[in-house]
């Protein structure tokens, strides 16, 4: 009898473990449930720390949570790992993190070829502490939209090629759009009174605009104009469906309007910039 009981306990435990495992796997491929968000941000860079990336990312995260999104992860500083954004072919684990949510946000330093982390979690050692564009392949599971709130990542022309050669052709595998900056971006909140430190999170305002509702691309442009000085230039990069003339930055937030289907192998892209 004791043996039977022990076997039953083992069976139940095994079932629980399996269900848990299956649940994680399904969430990773959950392209139907378009309401999961994850954010990562870095402030504690050793040589050039930032101050406000957490407020921007977490304002975005919290506000989406308030309107019914599932908050999947919020990793900051040493908990933010480059491998979460990198494909498995280079030792990354995007299939467990960034590509298991619909909308992601990264806030930190960047340049035209990469965005940067404060600790080294590079799978193959090729580009330590950064996500280089050659290490990214997004949307083959779930990811639709990503904000890279960092300097110059979406710069039009750069030494390693134009923005399409860097962040479009190698990266989009079902992803709809990347939102970021053509120029530098200032690390600041939306100041309502800098001398008394009253401010609003640009991430929150971005969600507020999407909930009006405006399209995601329009909301990002409006947010950057409210947020950044006019010296800076915002940018967006999206799949362009030339048959329907639809640019995928014109998706609405799910539940607020049209969301275009994934295009796994895009044949055209569109990029634009604007003065903030």
């Amino acid at each position: 009898m004791a043996k039977v009981m022990a076997l039953m306990v083992c069976f139940v435990l095994l079932c629980c473990f399996s269900l848990n495992f299956v649940n994680i796997t399904i969430a990773g491929n959950d392209d139907a449930d378009q309401k999961e968000v994850g954010v990562e941000w870095v402030e504690n860079y050793s040589s050039d720390p930032l101050k406000w990336t957490s407020e921007a990312a977490e304002g975005f995260y919290s506000r989406l949570g308030e309107i019914g999104w599932t908050k999947r992860f919020d990793f900051g500083d040493d908990l933010a790992w480059e491998s979460d954004f990198e494909k498995s072919a280079v030792g990354g684990s995007d299939y467990l993190y960034i590509d298991t949510v619909d909308f992601a946000w990264f806030g930190g330093h960047g340049d035209s070829a990469e965005f940067m982390f404060s600790t080294n979690h590079d799978g193959d050692g090729a580009y330590p502490c950064v996500v280089h564009y050659t290490e990214a392949s997004w949307g083959d599971l779930d990811l639709e939209w990503v904000v890279i709130s960092a300097c110059q990542v979406l710069q039009w022309q750069a030494p390693l090629g134009n923005v399409f050669d860097r962040w479009a052709w190698p990266v989009f595998k079902g992803l709809h759009a990347i939102f970021g900056f053509d120029s530098n971006a200032s690390d600041q909140p939306i100041w309502t009174d800098p001398f008394h430190l009253t401010w609003e999170s640009p991430g929150k305002r971005f969600v507020d605009y999407m909930a009006v509702p405006y399209t995601i691309g329009e909301s990002w442009q409006r947010t950057t104009i409210d947020w950044q000085p006019s010296d800076n230039w915002g940018a967006a990069l999206a799949v362009c469906d030339t048959a329907t003339n639809f640019y995928q930055w014109d998706d609405y937030l799910p539940g607020y309007g049209y969301v275009s289907p994934d295009v796994d192998s895009p044949t055209s892209f569109v990029w634009r910039n604007w003065q903030c």
């Binding site: 406000w52 009174d193 950044q228 569109v270 990029w271």
Partner: protein
């Protein structure tokens, strides 16, 4: 959501931090470390001993007036749907066009079918025509009593937003989305700076106005206040830090490249009631590890209350 192993790591680091803090307090060492040398390579501006602090007052705006502004300035007829009043802002919508009038005087107008990358200009409109049309729009606002009397608005520059397509066969096509005319705000010759200092008119095909952003603050000088000299501002800079969360302990020297006296204009949707003089300081930090970092900081030029 914590990563595996981080709980024990966090507990360990916390314990070490507490121990260090106790030792530091016991030894009488104070944070933050001072001793950052500030070197001014910039020409410091001549600044009057006193400057006026500006109080912002809400416009006398109600639904009727907001509707008038929308109709007369932007030809948006709000009778098709009832205007909404959300967060102190009147929102008047007609088809794809909308006008937002905030009670502080911030006005936004957008033709959403032509803004936001939805227009590809076949031919850029003539710049002179754009500048003239932008100035006419400001005249219309003035005729509606919406131009700030205390502030000066002057032409600044013309820029354009761009859109580029790439195709699998290697073709790249470039278009303009709009041409826009920027204006600068100033008070008695001192520029307004900050998120609430934008006045901009967007143009589409044939110089059609497709968008407008205007922070038309209604300001009144309330009092003249003793102004910090630029040198005092640099001392203050050492006190408040260099922005971007850079701790003093990391910095060995700050090289100041420019010091500009401005009025800081906050986000137009702010509840702030004053626009105050400030120093906008830019420069470069030399860190103790030999690295360099650009910095930008705003220091109040008058005592804060």
């Amino acid at each position: 959501m914590l990563r595996r192993g981080y709980v024990s790591k966090v507990l360990f680091i916390s314990a070490v931090a507490i121990l260090v803090a106790v030792l530091v307090i016991a030894s009488g060492v104070l944070f933050p470390q001072k001793g950052v040398t500030v070197v001014a390579e910039a020409t410091l501006p001549d600044v009057p001993g006193e400057m006026e602090v500006l109080k912002t007052a809400p416009w006398d705006m109600d639904e009727k007036r907001a509707l008038n502004v929308a109709a007369e300035v932007f030809e948006v007829n709000g009778t098709a749907s009832k205007p909404e009043f959300i967060n102190d802002t009147w929102r008047i919508v007609e088809g794809t066009r909308e006008v937002w009038v905030h009670k502080c005087g911030a006005i936004k107008y957008f033709d959403n079918s032509k803004m936001w990358g939805r227009t590809l200009l076949k031919e850029p409109p003539a710049l002179n025509a754009c500048i003239a049309a932008a100035e006419q729009l400001l005249e219309k606002l003035k005729a509606n009593g919406l131009m700030p009397e205390g502030l000066n608005i002057s032409f600044s520059d013309v820029a354009n937003d761009t859109m580029i397509f790439a195709f699998k066969n290697g073709t790249i096509s470039t278009y303009l989305n709009n041409v826009h005319v920027n204006f600068a705000l100033s008070y008695k010759g001192v520029p307004l700076w900050g998120p609430g200092a934008k006045v901009r008119v967007y143009f589409g095909e044939e110089a059609e106005i497709i968008g407008f952003i205007g922070n038309l603050w209604n300001v009144k000088a309330v009092e003249a206040v003793h102004t910090l000299t630029p040198n005092e501002a640099l001392e203050k800079l050492k006190e408040i830090g260099f922005g971007d969360g850079i701790p003093d302990s990391v910095v060995s020297e700050a090289i100041v490249k420019s010091v500009e006296l401005v009025y800081f204009a906050p986000s137009p949707e702010a509840e702030s009631t004053h626009i105050i003089p400030a120093y906008h300081i830019k420069g470069m930090l030399i860190c103790r590890d030999g690295g360099t970092v650009n910095f930008e900081q705003t220091v109040p030029a008058v005592p804060l209350r």
